[in-house]
């Protein structure tokens, strides 16, 4: 039996694996709870002790996407038999569908604002980080510190001034306003992260491109960007997650046209009693885009987190 210095012993591996899996299970419980609740009936969703095995129902999802009104038996009679499967579910509860809910719009707003601000943040962040990394910027260190200092308090601490500013500029409850706001909040993180990644790229690549006859911008575009893809991807994920999940500003600054999903989801609850399954369904669907985005970029994300160690 020989020991290896670098390779952990089998027992250690088992313990490590067990710990990681248990930690994952614990953190996944709330997520599973939400997903499960989305498929419960309203009665099951508030049962105590909680029901683990239940008869799945899509009522929550139907309620999420529809507006319903209470109907008397005569009205139900008059409306004739249900046309569709979701009509049937709604009628069993003595209600009829009066129209689609606003969840679709709110979700779309979230997509526009979340991805829009992430994109803008990446464009500005990459260029600023490149400049900080490569050029002699006067007062470079002070500027970088200043940029970082914008994150030294919770962004919501300046909510009132921003609210007033937005009102005067007519940016209240607009997509553009929210995109600008989330970009501003995320920019410091993205400049700092990306500067780290770009610092790691040897300057010789650009010099080689310059000598090969390319302009500075072409060198940036064709040589630096592909090299920085890892960093850009992981930074983009962080930015998207912030913008996607942001609640406080969204509550304060949006109400109608530009309202995102996070402030909207809790309002579902008030429509007809405590409709937890609908809320859970809204949260579940809301998870999907960030999950897909992260899974698509996960190879980069992993390399990005360990960048100092594995590059070169």
């Amino acid at each position: 039996m020989s020991f290896s210095v670098t390779e952990p012993a089998k027992g250690t591996k088992w313990i490590a694996g067990f710990l990681v899996i248990s930690y994952a299970c614990i953190t996944l419980v709330p997520l599973l709870w939400i997903i499960a609740t989305g498929f419960k009936s309203p009665a099951d969703s508030i049962a105590y002790p909680p029901v683990v095995l239940f008869e799945p129902s899509v009522e929550g999802y139907v309620n999420l996407f529809t507006e319903r009104t209470r109907a008397t038996p005569e009205m139900l009679e008059a409306a004739g038999p249900a046309d569709t499967w979701y009509d049937e579910i709604v009628r069993e509860r003595g209600t009829i569908i009066s129209g689609p809910s606003r969840y679709g719009e709110r979700f779309l707003n979230s997509v526009i604002i979340g991805f829009g601000s992430t994109l803008l943040c990446m464009i500005l962040g990459t260029m600023a980080a490149y400049a900080f990394s490569r050029f002699k910027v006067p007062l470079k260190d002070d500027l970088l510190f200043f940029i970082l200092s914008t994150r030294m308090m919770p962004p919501i601490a300046v909510a009132i001034p921003i609210f007033l500013m937005f009102r005067n500029l007519g940016l209240n409850d607009t997509h553009l306003g929210m995109i600008l706001l989330y970009t501003a909040v995320n920019l410091s993180l993205s400049v700092w992260l990306l500067k780290g990644f770009i610092d790691e790229i040897p300057i010789e690549y650009e010099e080689a491109a310059l000598i090969d006859g390319y302009t500075r911008f072409q060198a940036f575009y064709k040589v630096v960007l592909p090299q920085a893809a890892t960093g850009i991807a992981s930074t983009a994920i962080f930015c998207l997650i912030f913008a996607w999940n942001e609640y406080a500003f969204a509550v304060l600054l949006t109400s109608g046209t530009a309202q995102t999903a996070p402030p909207f989801i809790p309002t579902i609850i008030g429509v007809s009693g405590k409709d937890w399954p609908a809320v859970a369904a809204g949260a579940t669907i809301f998870l999907v885009p960030v999950m897909v985005f992260t899974i698509l970029l996960r190879k980069h994300l992993l390399r990005g987190i360990t960048f100092g160690a594995v590059r070169k």
């Binding site: 040897p202 010789e204 690549y205 010099e207 080689a208 491109a209 310059l210 000598i211 090969d212 006859g213 390319y214 302009t215 072409q218 040589v223 592909p226 090299q227």
Partner: protein
């Protein structure tokens, strides 16, 4: 191909003066070495020629045109980096063709040229492989391929063999020299390795502390160093210095060390005071009849020769003698120096005194 002329070029980084007023000329088709210890300004000089740094003052002429303040992309030159700087996201063929694609050549022309270059460098079979997994030698060839594919006016190389292991360097340096002879392109090559410089170079510039100490053909620089720095930097072991106080007049051909007369090449400059007599180890002979004496301190056996370290009244010196010679540590012996090979230096300034032997090869740039 082109002649390159450097005139009074100076480079400051903030308050640090990296290159102090250098002047020299690289003739068309020459293999030109910039030699010096690290931090001497050789790489900065090369980067200024390439346009990767702009000189603080002075002019750089490539092919008669002043390019000092022009960006690299407008100078039509190629650069081989120490770490090769192959674009990691492209395969070998794409790397080589990258400079061509910038010029807007047609696909067929690009493919044809890349094929030719790959043929010359013997890398046809790896054109489609990514550069990540290549060996050092192959990376080097790809980097060269990217440089020569465009037929630039000059090649600049910044320690291109520095990243290779010793065994392979030998091989690559021959390959490089052969490639140069075949293309006949003006090549400027930066190195800190004096052997590499002497092996490959048509001409050498020796730099130290941002100053050009001497430039010329390798033989002249080795035989007739212009300064003590050059004398020490080239050759292994370095040139010996015997420090003494004495005088030599213009036209004199003898100096007295501790009242022992030693012949030297006929001097053109006279001086009086602290001097150093420089002599290469291979020009020191152990000769019991000689008046100048030394005691053997140590011997190093090197196969065909041996290096004998001797203690003298003017400091330790090393002699390179045949390995068959019987030399015992502690022996007293006479030392004679080949008078045709001696250089005298002013001990204070470190500058060689002009003599009839070194006249005409002391180019200080």
């Amino acid at each position: 191909m082109a002649q390159i002329r450097i005139e009074n070029v100076r480079k400051d980084f903030g308050s640090f003066n990296a290159v102090k007023s250098s002047t020299f000329t690289i003739e068309d088709g020459e293999f030109f070495m910039l030699l010096g210890p690290s931090g001497c300004g050789k790489t900065t000089t090369l980067r200024m020629m390439a346009g990767l740094e702009l000189p603080t003052s002075g002019e750089i002429y490539i092919d008669g045109e002043e390019v000092g303040q022009k960006p690299a992309s407008q100078r039509d030159i190629a650069f081989v980096f120490q770490m090769f700087a192959l674009y990691p996201h492209m395969n070998v063929g794409k790397n080589i063709s990258y400079p061509l694609r910038c010029q807007g050549l047609s696909k067929a022309e690009v493919t044809k040229k890349v094929g030719e270059i790959a043929e010359i460098l013997g890398i046809t079979d790896i054109l489609n492989t990514p550069v990540g997994g290549l060996s050092g030698g192959d990376r080097q060839r790809v980097a060269l391929g990217r440089a020569i594919v465009r037929d630039p006016k000059a090649f600049f190389m910044d320690e291109p063999l520095g990243a290779l292991d010793a065994e392979f360097r030998e091989h690559m340096s021959e390959e490089l020299r052969a490639l140069h002879d075949r293309m006949n392109a003006t090549t400027v090559y930066v190195t800190h390795d004096q052997l590499e410089a002497m092996q490959m170079g048509d001409k050498i510039v020796v730099m130290n502390h941002g100053v050009v100490e001497q430039f010329g053909v390798p033989q002249d620089i080795y035989d007739w160093p212009a300064t003590k720095f050059v004398a020490q930097f080239l050759g292994s072991p370095a040139m010996n210095f015997l420090d003494f106080n004495g005088m030599i007049g213009s036209g004199g051909n003898e100096v007295r060390l501790n009242d022992i007369p030693l012949s030297v090449p006929t001097s053109i400059e006279g001086t009086n005071g602290a001097m150093s007599l420089g002599v290469r180890p291979e020009h020191v002979r152990l000769d019991d009849t000689a008046k100048y004496r030394g005691r053997v301190k140590a011997t190093e056996y090197l196969g065909t020769t041996q290096i004998v370290t001797l203690e003298t009244a003017n400091g330790d010196i090393k002699a390179r003698v045949g390995s068959a010679d019987k030399v015992r540590v502690g022996d007293q012996t006479g030392l004679s120096f080949d008078p045709r090979t001696i250089t005298l230096f002013d001990a204070d300034t470190g500058v060689a005194l002009r003599s009839q032997a070194n006249e005409g090869v002391l180019n200080y740039g």
